[in-house]
Amino acid sequence: MLVDIQNLKIGFKSRTGFHQAVKGVSLKLGTEKLGIVGESGSGKSLTARALMKLLPKSTVIEADTLAFDGIDVLSASERQMRQIRGKRAGFILQDPKYSLNPVKTIGAQVAESWRTHKGGSRREALEAAVNLLEQVQIRNPQVVAKSYPHEVSGGMGQRVMIAMMLAPDPELLIADEPTSALDATVQAEILRLIEELVAERGMGLLLISHDLPLVSHFCDRVMVMYSGRVMEELKASELLSAKHPYTRGLLNCMPSLIHPKDRLPVLARDPEWLK
């Protein structure tokens, strides 16, 4: 089991008291594609960050199990975590603009990421970088390797991020809203690319998104979160027969191009869901 989370709770202390953001989430992930879907404040990103121990020190994290490939993350040292982060698990964030170093060429950044994990000479690293850029379907990798992040589009930037994350051959890829900042035409391409690479390399994928129908196209299983809890977990192919009113509500309240609705149904939140 690549990821095993049992009864994860995440809370924040503030001046006004204690705020419980994640209230007992459990999930297991092997070499498969799991989508975590929820609205803002559902705790979906926090869950993924807790797994990589990327939350600020003041956060209170409790769990019966929080393990990456059998390693207990809660008791792991910072050194052990560095072995996992970036090397065994890659993390792709929403906006590549903020994740890439603006003063270094793209090639140099990908090469550096490759060299940190694989060693070897600068030349080898640069060749590997171009090869990686080719793998993420960049048409002219030589040219892109020599450009700076601000010279490429958002979609291209996200491809570069993916290339960097792939350099050390990770076992798990966590993508947190990887396409929310991108245009519709690019969004599908990037998600398809992630899906293909994950399948090819036999990796696990944790895809975090607010877009339920979108996620279902690129994942095997979907977990729906609301207010720090898991509402429902189901196969992506069975989404249309979802049972939980929240999942159904989320699907129904979206406007549709082919099934026009006069009025959009409004999601009625039931306090019972949180019991």
């Binding site: 803002s40 519709a184 129908p213 992506a236 406007p255 999601l267």
Partner: protein, 247 residues
Amino acid sequence: MTIEIDNLRIRFGEREVVKGVSFDIEGGDSFGIVGESGSGKSTVLRAMAGLNEDWQGRISFSGEDAPQKRPPSFFRKVQMVFQDPYGSLHPRQTIDRILSELPLVHKMDRIDDRIAKVLSDVALPQNARFRYPHQLSGGQRQRVAIARALIAEPEVLLLDEPTSALDVSVQAEILNLLADLRVERKLTYVMVSHNLSVIAHLCSQVGVMVDGQMVEQLTAEDLRLGKAVHPHTQELRRLSVELEEPV
């Protein structure tokens, strides 16, 4: 209020970002502009609102050509709602102060009543009035932004991606509100969005922009039925249809 845009051109420095865009909107109608980032759709909307004073061509409301620099009375007729409800409200002013600015500038009477009325029109509780934007949720803030536009009693509402920063459940509430307001107040809408379904839901006419040009105009009905001609529109429609349905 009929709107005519004729051969609108806008350049930022050397680069022309809007390359001769023309379209007409009947009074009381709603027109949607779809396009990807950088297509110039928001730039067109901002020029219509009078936020960009450096354009060429013709923008006219009810047959009257709008000057580059709009007179204050213009803003009683045309108002705008912005994309990001977090960035479009002054962070250190109460909702009351935000809403009272336009009535004060135009020396309107019964400001207190007007604010109370407009808050109830957008279904905000009266006790939100003296709160600060950071004390409200994203959906509530967008309602405030709509209220601020409505207090001018405008005839035209320009909507710049009004729901793209919101959760889908909140988006549904805001879209319903906008649809109701249009009927009640006989408003004319121009909405910019990258989301085809949202545009088709609220607008009867759709214009598709690519690289500073409006490559196609069609009715939302034709868009739904797949009667688009331009390959970019077809591609956008295909993606939208494919991804909006679960597997």
